[in-house]
Every structure is written in C-alpha cells, then in structure tokens.
Amino acid sequence: MIDPTPRRTDIVDTIVDAIEEVAPDVEARSLPADGDLRLDADLDSMDFLAVITLIAERTGADIPERVYGQFRSIDDIADHVADARHPT
C-alpha cells in the first residue's frame, strides 16, 4: 500500500528543485534550510511567488496569501507543506 503522505525530505527536495528552476544561478542545494531564503537566494517578490507556486502545484498543498508572506526559510515552507491539508 503506497503511503500518500510525502516525507519531509521529499518536501525539501521539491522546494529546492523549485528554487533551482526559478533561480538557476543559485546553488539551491547549499542553501541553509533555516536561513532567510529570500536573502540567501536573492529572490525578489516575483521570484518568490514563482517558487511558491511551483511548490504548491507539485505538493498539492494550499498556501494562503497571509501564510506565504510569513515564510522566511526553507524549513518554514516545509513545515507548512507537511502540515497542510491537501485538497482532493
């Protein structure tokens, strides 16, 4: 029986992949998971929205506007995705 709940490492991989796609010049794999993502990866508001949109598409997680404004680190995003109710 396949466990439909994504593991945290898979979630972080998805996040890092999304960053890599939006900002190919950033060494996404070396970003600190608890750092200030926008600062570390030099993402402006359009970049960040693009990253979050990709993550939402790929994980199926709902990411409300007021929540994503508070995301600071990769860990923040991973925590939210892991806890989120995935819409069917």
Partner: protein, 260 residues
C-alpha cells in the same frame, strides 16, 4: 588610452602595446582585439554597451529629478485581501500595481511619454513601458511592455512575469525590444530607499522606484506606521519641467488609490 580601456585590457589580458590604432585607445579597440584565448565575456560586452548609452544620456540630456513618497499601505492591504481569495497562479505583486499606475499616469501626462528627436519633443500615441530588469548573473536588459496603458493589473502581472522570466533566460523577442516611450527602474524589495536615474535616450523620463519600507507618519493627527515607496522622476528638462513631473507623480498616487 582611456582608464576604462586600460582596465579592460588588464582584465582581458590584452597588451596595449600590440594594439593597432588611430588616436586614443578606447574600450572598443580593446574589446575587438581580445584574442580567442581571452574570450570576451558576454556580460562585459553588455556592461560596455550600457556604459556607452549612459555616457551619451548624461552628456546630452539636461536631467532634473523630482521625488514623491507614495503611501502604499492601503494598496498593499487590498492586494493581500485580493490574493487571499485567489489561487497562487492568479496572485499579483505590488510591482504590477505600480507599473499599471505609472502607465496610466503617463497617459494623463503626455509630456512625460515620448522622445526627444531633432531638437523637439515627439509625443508617443500610447505608452510602451520600458522595464530595467537586472539579470541574476549581472548586467541588465531593458524589455518593453507594449501598450502598457491598456493593461489591467492581471494582464500586467501576467506580462511582467513572462517578460522577466524570458529576460533572465535570454529569450526576448523583437516585440519585447521595441523602443519604449517611458521607462521604470524598480529597486525591488531589498533595494535602497530611492533611485534618481539616468534617462534611457531618446526617451524623456525614467521613473525610479525605491524599496517599500515602513515609516512613521501622521495620519488624522495620530502617529502611525505606514508602508511607502519613494518614486523619483528623472526628467529631460528640454521636454518638460518639474511641475509636469509633480503632476505626473500625483497622477500615479491617484491611480494607486483605485487599484487593484
């Protein structure tokens, strides 16, 4: 030999003594002489092109600068509320609202929107909005949003996202590189408070936007935190003057009140 040529020669490993030249050695001479074993970086060429354009602009255009603080507190709140009710793919960012307001203000203030040609101002018949996009790997490109004055915030957002993405991937088309009638340089979220820019010739105005920041202001007699953006018009004093720029900025502020 110009200082820039000297620096370029050092960076590219070009021996100035070996250069065949008439008159002073310029950056162009050095760039042309760079051998295959010292390849000219694309970003170096871009930097040289920008330098030439900015030199021309500063030399020929009598610039003046006028600033206005734009209070975007309510606008930001309205955008957040709107975004909250939308899926991620349909959300808009503040930059899209600013660009719409600026395009509409340019329609209201035709003196700011056009070109200086043959000793006179030629007004454009629509707003073709030039954006200054910084490439993540350094250097800038200046794509154009054609007929920006006709775009609502959603169309502007979609156009912006697409244009910025393609700019960064080097996939701009001819239509994107059409001459603009007015341009914007936006510092983005982590830029400085204000930017008083250098006009992209032969345009007659460049709108500089500082980073949004929180400040303390008096509203209805009470001290309160507000989110503001400093907008600075760089204007060609041959085409118009500070009053026109002030009118333009007031118009921007008014349009922002009506968005999103």
């Amino acid at each position: 030999m110009t200082p820039r040529a000297r620096r370029l020669a050092a960076e590219l490993g070009v021996d100035p003594g070996s250069l065949d030249h008439d008159g002073p050695i310029t950056a162009d001479t050095v760039l042309q002489a760079a051998t295959p074993s010292a390849p000219v970086d694309r970003s170096l060429r871009m930097r040289a092109a920008i330098a030439a354009l900015m030199e021309q602009s500063w030399r020929e255009i009598p610039h003046y600068h006028v600033s206005q603080e734009l209070d975007i507190t309510e606008l930001s709140s309205r955008i957040e509320t709107m975004n909250d009710e939308r899926p991620l793919a349909e959300r808009v960012v503040l930059a899209a609202a600013l660009d719409v307001a600026i395009a509409r203000a340019a329609l209201d203030t035709p003196d700011m929107n056009g070109w200086w040609r043959d000793g006179r101002f030629v007004a454009a018949d629509r707003v073709d909005l030039g954006l200054i996009v910084s490439l993540r790997t350094g250097g800038i490109v200046a794509p154009t949003i054609v007929d920006a004055g006709s775009l609502d915030i959603d169309r502007m957002m979609a156009t912006l996202a697409d244009l910025v993405a393609r700019s960064r991937r080097g996939r701009l088309r001819e239509r994107d590189l059409q001459p603009a009638s007015i341009s914007i340089t936006n510092m983005g979220e982590r830029g400085a408070d204000a930017v008083a820019g250098i006009i992209y010739p032969p345009q007659v105005a460049l709108i500089g936007l500082g980073a949004p920041r929180t400040v303390v202001r008096l509203v209805d007699g009470a001290v309160t935190p507000r989110t503001v953006v400093e907008a600075t018009v760089a204007g060609d004093h041959r085409a118009h003057d500070g009053l026109a720029a002030a009118r333009f900025l007031r118009s921007v502020a008014q349009h922002l009140e009506e968005l999103p």
